[in-house]
């Protein structure tokens, strides 16, 4: 059975799906690795040991949350700092609540011992690759696993290399490295274009995110933009139905 032509909604596992996921994951891996270099270098700059760097990336595995945390890393860590970092992880990870919501109809049909470990390494890139595959009619969670293996492998290699290189990659803006991830996500949207009506949700999401970023400090614009775009799209679809 190919990884895409499942006739039913029931999930199944296949080697073909794993290979497909790994191939699709490899398309984003270079961009992820550039970002990983920056995170690894930031960890070295703020005094984390090599082991702590690896543990943080294996256990937290949230590049943007780690990068922001390292930017505000204190000289001494108190219980207050621990609570602040936990709150930071919650705010920056809030968008993943929506991703979990969207993936429920697919992964909800898997046994819990499979779905919950799989979600431990949920990322924007692996989610986007998997949801595109799901929209194409595929139901094989091995595609998600394959993409996760590629992306995580590249990420871990990059954060270790970035840690070793240290100050060489300290200023991502200087080389335009900070643009890599936005460009990737913008490119992933292009094949999703199916007409102007579908774009209304994107426009609402972008406008709300920009407005919230302007008026509210912090990272709430990510959550606000996601929610606004999803709700706008839902009501447009409901009107049409």
């Amino acid at each position: 059975m190919s990884a895409i032509d499942s006739a039913t909604d029931k999930p199944y596992w296949s080697w073909a799906g794993l290979r497909l996921g790994m191939r699709r994951g490899l398309t984003i891996t270079p961009g992820v690795m550039v970002f990983g270099l920056v995170v690894g270098a930031a960890a070295e700059r703020h005094g984390l040991s090599a082991f702590e760097n690896i543990a943080m990336n294996l256990l937290v595995y949230s590049g943007i949350a780690q990068l922001v945390a390292l930017e505000i890393w204190p000289k001494t860590i108190t219980w207050g700092a621990v609570a602040s970092f936990a709150l930071l992880a919650g705010i920056l990870g809030a968008r993943m609540v929506l991703m979990g919501v969207a993936i429920r109809p697919w992964f909800g049909r898997l046994p819990k011992w499979q779905s919950y470990p799989l979600l431990f390494y949920l990322t924007d890139a692996s989610w986007l690759i998997s949801m595109r595959y799901h929209a194409e009619g595929g139901r094989d969670p091995a595609v998600y696993l394959g993409a996760t293996i590629s992306i995580t492998g590249g990420w871990m290699a990059a954060v270790i290399a970035g840690y070793s290189l240290g100050g060489f990659v300290a200023d991502p803006q200087r080389y335009g490295v900070d643009l890599v991830m936005p460009v990737f996500f913008a490119a992933m949207l292009v094949p999703l274009w199916t007409g102007r009506r579908r774009a209304y949700g994107w426009i609402v999401a972008g406008a709300v995110a920009v407005a919230v970023q302007h008026f509210v400090d912090g990272w709430w614009f990510i959550v606000a933009g996601s929610l606004a775009g999803s709700l706008a799209g839902a009501f447009l679809d409901a009107e049409r139905a």
């Binding site: 621990v82 936990a86 919650g90 990870g93 979600l119 929209a135 999703l192």
Partner: protein
């Protein structure tokens, strides 16, 4: 009293961030287990995923 957690502080930060991040990853998934998939909910999920439906050019691959 010194509030500095010393070497354990880094590990506490990692543990706290890891726990909270995992909660965000499974939070929506768990909540949706209690929500009936009505037409409006499906429309919301569809838009949240920004996914294509029947007009996908890759469907025949």
């Amino acid at each position: 009293m010194s509030d500095d957690l010393g070497a354990a502080g880094v590990w506490l930060v990692i543990a706290a961030m890891a726990a909270v991040t995992y909660v965000t990853r499974i939070g929506g998934f768990v909540i949706m287990g209690y929500v009936p998939l009505t037409r409006r909910v499906r429309a919301f999920l569809s838009k949240a995923a920004a996914r294509r439906r029947s007009r996908s050019p890759c469907r025949s691959r």
